[in-house]
Amino acid sequence: MDMNEIKEIFFQECEEQLAELESGLLRLNDGDRDPETVNAVFRAVHSIKGGAGAFALDDLVSFAHVFETTLDCVRSNKLEPTQEVLKVMLKSADVLADLTNVARDGGSVDQARSAQLIRELEALAKGEAPPAAEAPAPKAAAAPKAAPAPKPAPVAAAAAPNDEGFLPVAFSFDDFGGEEEAVIEHPAYEVVFKPKSELYTKGNEATLLLRDLSRLGEMSIHCNMDSLPPLDQMDPEAAYFSWKVSIKTDKGEDAVRTVFEFAEWDCELEVIAVDAGEGASSESEELPMQPVPFDLSALDEEPHAPLGVVEEEEQIAAAQEAVTAAQTASNVVQMAGNASRAAAADKGAAAAAAAQNNAQQASAAGQTIRVDLDRVDRLINLVGELVINQAMLSQSVIENDSNGVSSINMGLEELQQLTREIQDSVMAIRAQPVKPVFQRMARTVREIADITGKSVRLVTEGENTEVDKTVIDKLAEPLTHMIRNAVDHGLEMPEKRLAAGKSAEGTVKLTAKHRSGRIVIELSDDGAGINREKVRQKAIDNDLIAADANLSDEEIDNLIFHAGFSTADKVSDLSGRGVGMDVVKRSIQALGGRINISSKPGQGSVFTMSLPLTLAVLDGMVVTVAGQTLVVPLTAIVETLQPDAAAIHSFGATQRLISIRNSFCPLVDVGRILNFRATQANPVEGVALLVESEGGGQRALMVDAIQGQRQVVIKSLEANYTHVPGIAAATILGDGRVALILDVDAVVAASRGQPLHLETSLAAAG
């Protein structure tokens, strides 16, 4: 494993930590005061800092350090996580994400913004209100916080007062650290250090930590061995020793804590400043403290690497140690640990207890693995080919085995079943929750809210709904666009909202759910809704519609999806560049999805996107229309029926209706809509597929015959040819021929009179 691979793992871990950080901060923002949430947030920043340090990513380390210091104040209840404080922290999380991205991909960050946030974070850590943007330059950010802290924080400058008018006052024990100029004796600290077994198994070493501690100043130590069992009852890899250390140092409490920072989660640690005059506390005086000799040079020869790791290139070992300790690359450690274990395996038999312990660790670490996406994609492609091949094989067997009962046929059915299962399992590998995308939207909302001066709350639901990774990756862009639109255009300014009897804070709601084999994502806002008059006027001005056009509300709403349409009076940085919603619609369509809008004046708008769960396969009904083979997605079909002549009714000049269980449903000839034939076919000679479109209505699609039902592998027309109206994609059938997959909604829309733009050549696609 080379340095770049370790670094790549670090960045992957960073992404997870950043997601953890953001969701933790959002929970705090929602009023969660669970100390574990604060800890999780702290840990995330701490881990990023630790890993970044190993790779000398100085900007990232500096920022993370300041951020962490402020979070530590929250963790130790010195700083109340008010909305104001959390606002700064959420922004800091964004900057931390930017810095991580820059460290990985290059580029530059907004230095002014990060400097400003460093100032704000430092002010919060000191218990002051965040300074304004013009505040003087900060002191060196990278330097560890010097102890003792500055004079007690001015009460008047503390954070926002509570209901009773009291002001939370940041309180620091550092303030009582003693006047160092007046006292010649260095401040003394009492350190209680109780390692957990994990400390050792993760490659840390108590002796090295104590050695580093001893370098800070004059130290005496007491080793508590009370819990050490006799040899036959001990687990050689468990921690039994704990230490009480008394140290006099001028480097401050932070320096003492820094020694343990990479092991913090794997030990119990107490650092107490004791009065320099008294030396150690009375309790520790009772313990036999052993002075630690200053000359520890004999121990310095070893590299600063974990003892448990086999000798490797020094730089890698050092990086691994830091990454390890920061818990940011536990799998790297596991690998290194396993390698060293393997190397040592022949040296002797392990005790049963230890073996069990190792097995438990192995199982805990083996629950997830990281796999390169390319490998999964290759597998998916291969399975796709397997499905096609299996279909071809089935077809040729069927053609040569007319009675269909031969053993080959039976075997093929089993093969089909197996292929299906393999395919499902492979698809499940790619399925990911939409949570990361939703979390990214939280940032978008914050930024737009800041720029527009609106107050916005983002509510998300169904973040754990899973969908194919490709869909998730491609979802972020259109969703960001829509969120921007929702905040910028949808929500009103606070004063306008108050005037309309709403709360000043607008709500944008993002939900995801599974519905009949698709994922449905809804974005709603409680803003003013679409201003239909304005939209209509704009459409007339842009020659999109005739001035006297008679449009329904829904049709007017849908005008916003037209290219070049923008209702923003002035072009802003956020939206309103006129490339908005048509681009969104195209992106969603390219994903095989659809988008709809419904809006109520004064109450807001709802955008509904329906997307396929996977872009790889589809269950379809293979049908014949005017000599062409088409595939109709099974999810759209409600039922199939053979129309009876008595059930067909003419309606107007060209419309026909079919009577199904005492209700009428429009009959749509697919061959006519797609221009496969010049006149409508006789419905009685064909088959009707009753479909439900995303818009809700039912239609009976007329096809000539049904060939069968089968799972088909989707081959994108957009990627291989170009978008064809009325056609969602293509596939390869068992006989090797290409068949087109019908876009049911587009056909239904066309049957309502909306043109399909058939000028694009269908024949070329077929």
Binding site: C223, A344, A351
Partner: protein
Amino acid sequence: MATRKAAQKSLSLAPVLDLNEANTLHGKLMALRGNNLVIDASAVERVGALCVQVLLAGAKSWEEDKHSFAFSKVSDAFTKTTQLIGVNIDHLMAKEI
């Protein structure tokens, strides 16, 4: 402390007594139970807390068994590490007669 009838065994410690060596060392000591033991720690270059734990647990068990457990020679690194972590092994040093 020592009994007369038990055999005298010796154990030379490996230069690196780290996480991996803790199990091995534990196994070796378990195999030597019931004997008087002299340990040669003169080759030790690095020793971690886990191995010190194993050695001291050994000393405890040997004491319960009423057998002798002593270090004949120790390296500078071994002595310094035990001093650093506050473990006193003076009483385990073989006394010259």
